[in-house]
């Protein structure tokens, strides 16, 4: 039994980190911003915390708060030049941002360790810290999704012009999305470096941002539960596909294509939409029956 726990604990821990990144990615997508900049903010947060804690002996919690704050400021700054871009242009611009950050981490090797990575980071983060961080994040995501901010995001994603004519400032709410996304990525990046002893620039490269997008595509972009489901699928998949060891990548790819083709809203959002349709149909039927009864009497 204990063996099982030890075997799967790292898997569980990375699942928790994945949830954090998934929310960072979801935040912007939900507002209709096709940013894939989360990887860049995670990289900044990870290196920031690593340097502050290992080289300057800073208290970890303070370092994490600083990482989140840097993510906020970074998101704010990034949102200014990107305000006029949409869709694929935003994606390319934010991809360029990620590449800049990753290459900075490679070049400034005196500070970051360069391609060898940044090692000997004190392990300050245990599983329960990650659980706590995820629980708090889920709370905030839930609160925001139920607030006027969440509704404004949903409106802008579906039709920006309509949102604007209803009084929603596009620039302001896109900025809020960037800021929150940056804060989440910066914070969880910092958690990752305090968890994993060592970090290297490539961890925050293309594979990272594809993974973050995948969590949302698989789970769903409109609900709080979606990213958790997406991260769980992506964490469990390699384990389930273990017998297929050599062809794992292949099956993972096939599964992705099938999911995107048949569940375009993601597993959880797809389920919510289905249930909602059923409920709507039931209400419709009730109204019709009530009307008939009224007409008959």
């Amino acid at each position: 039994m204990m063996n099982l726990v030890y075997t799967y604990q790292p898997l569980f821990d990375y699942f928790l980190l994945a949830i954090g990144y998934a929310y960072s990615q979801q935040m912007v997508l939900r507002a209709g911003v096709f940013s894939i900049g989360s990887a860049g903010f995670a990289c900044i947060g990870a290196y920031g915390v690593a340097i502050l804690v290992r080289d300057h002996g800073m208290y970890p919690l303070l370092a994490l708060a600083i990482a989140a704050a840097i993510g906020c400021v970074g998101g704010f700054l990034l949102s200014i030049p990107l305000a006029r871009l949409r869709g694929v242009f935003q994606a390319i611009a934010t991809l360029a941002f990620v590449q800049i950050i990753v290459s900075l981490a490679l070049y400034f090797d005196e500070l970051t360790g360069g391609p060898q990575g940044f090692n000997n980071i004190p392990k300050q983060v245990q599983t329960w810290h990650l659980v706590l961080a995820v629980v708090v994040t889920v709370y905030f995501m839930y609160v925001i999704s139920r607030s006027s901010i969440g509704r404004a995001f949903d409106a802008l994603r579906q039709d920006e012009t309509v949102g604007a004519t209803l009084g929603i400032s596009i620039r302001k709410y896109h900025m809020i999305a960037f800021v929150l996304s940056g804060a989440l990525a910066g914070f969880f990046g910092g958690m990752q470096s305090l968890y994993s002893y060592s970090i290297e620039p490539e961890m925050f490269g293309f594979a990272f941002l594809v993974a973050a997008l995948t969590y949302i595509i698989l789970g769903g972009r409109g609900t709080v539960t979606g990213p958790i489901i997406g991260a769980a699928i992506m964490s469990l998949l390699p384990e389930l596909a273990r017998p297929l060891a050599e062809n794992r990548q292949f099956f993972q790819g096939v599964l992705m294509m099938v999911m995107v083709a048949f569940m375009p809203h993601g597993v959880f959002d797809g389920l919510v939409l289905y249930l909602r349709k059923r409920r709507a149909a039931a209400r419709d039927k009730n109204f019709k029956e009530a009307n008939h009864a009224g007409a008959g009497s």
């Binding site: 607030s147 006027s148 901010i149 409106a155 949102g163 009084g167 809020i176 939409l273 409920r279 709507a280």
Partner: protein, 253 residues
């Protein structure tokens, strides 16, 4: 409530003068008509009022407030709402959610309260949904509350768009061809709704092709042709104006 006043408003797209020197007033508590053949520039006028297009020259005022250069969301906060010629709902959202988003300009809780979930924000959401439900009742649309708006029949989508515009609590409501594609019965039902809204003090600008419908509802009609205002006045006078007849039916220039 204030009136909406356009003063010598012009719009130039490159070499094309789409709207030239348009003067118009939309007084509160009445339905004002704006008619004209296809391509006359009616929707361009609406887009300029709502801040989606910038004016080339001229000014737009709402009461004492100059909204000439205001952005779309600022115009909405000032109290101008609209519907779209080609209905634009939030297709994934339910009917009720589509209406509730209309209350955005009335949200009172601060951004911070919303971000960290203070009671003021947590209480506000159910209140807004309650008000949305009231509006559904008023328009007889309760049975569609949970339907995804994108899946509704055309006439119902029009109603949802109308409810959303009313939810913003506008002082001026711009209706861009609201009864296009409806039969006479549906149109006259909607006409009753417009009369009610006008009676509550809102100033309505009705952009229409259906002349009969405009004649029934409006006391004042403006006629736009090729971007220029060619006539204005009471409907029955305007309809007999030779320039208007020529614009619609063709005639000697």
């Amino acid at each position: 409530m204030p009136a909406l006043v356009l003063d010598k408003v012009s719009k130039r797209f490159g070499g094309l003068l789409a709207v030239s020197d348009v003067n118009m007033e939309v007084p509160p508590g009445r339905i004002t008509g704006l008619i004209g053949p296809n391509g006359a520039g009616k929707t361009t006028v609406v887009n300029m009022i709502t801040g989606l297009l910038k004016l080339t020259t001229g000014s737009i005022k709402l009461g004492d407030r100059d909204i000439t250069t205001a952005e779309a969301h600022e115009v909405a906060h000032a109290g101008v709402s609209r519907t779209f010629q080609n209905i634009r709902l939030l297709p994934e959202a339910t009917v009720l959610e589509n209406v509730v988003i209309g209350f955005h300009v009335h949200v009172k809780s601060s951004l911070l309260a919303q971000l960290i979930g203070l009671p003021s924000s947590l209480r506000e959401t159910p209140q807004l949904f309650e008000r949305g439900w009231e509006l559904l009742k008023r328009f007889g649309m309760q049975r569609f509350a949970d339907h995804p708006a994108g899946g509704l029949a055309y006439g119902h989508q029009r109603r949802v768009e109308m409810m959303r515009a009313v939810a913003t609590g506008p002082q001026i409501l711009l209706l861009d061809e609201p009864v296009a594609g409806m039969n006479d019965v549906e149109a006259s039902e909607l006409g009753d709704v417009f009369n009610e809204l006008a009676a509550s003090g809102i100033g309505l600008l009705l952009i229409e092709h259906n002349i009969r419908f405009v004649n029934q509802l409006c006391q004042q009609v403006y006629v736009l042709d090729s971007g220029a205002m060619i006539a204005s006045g009471a409907p029955k006078d305007v309809m007999h104006n030779p320039a208007v007849v020529a614009a619609y039916l063709g005639g000697k220039k």
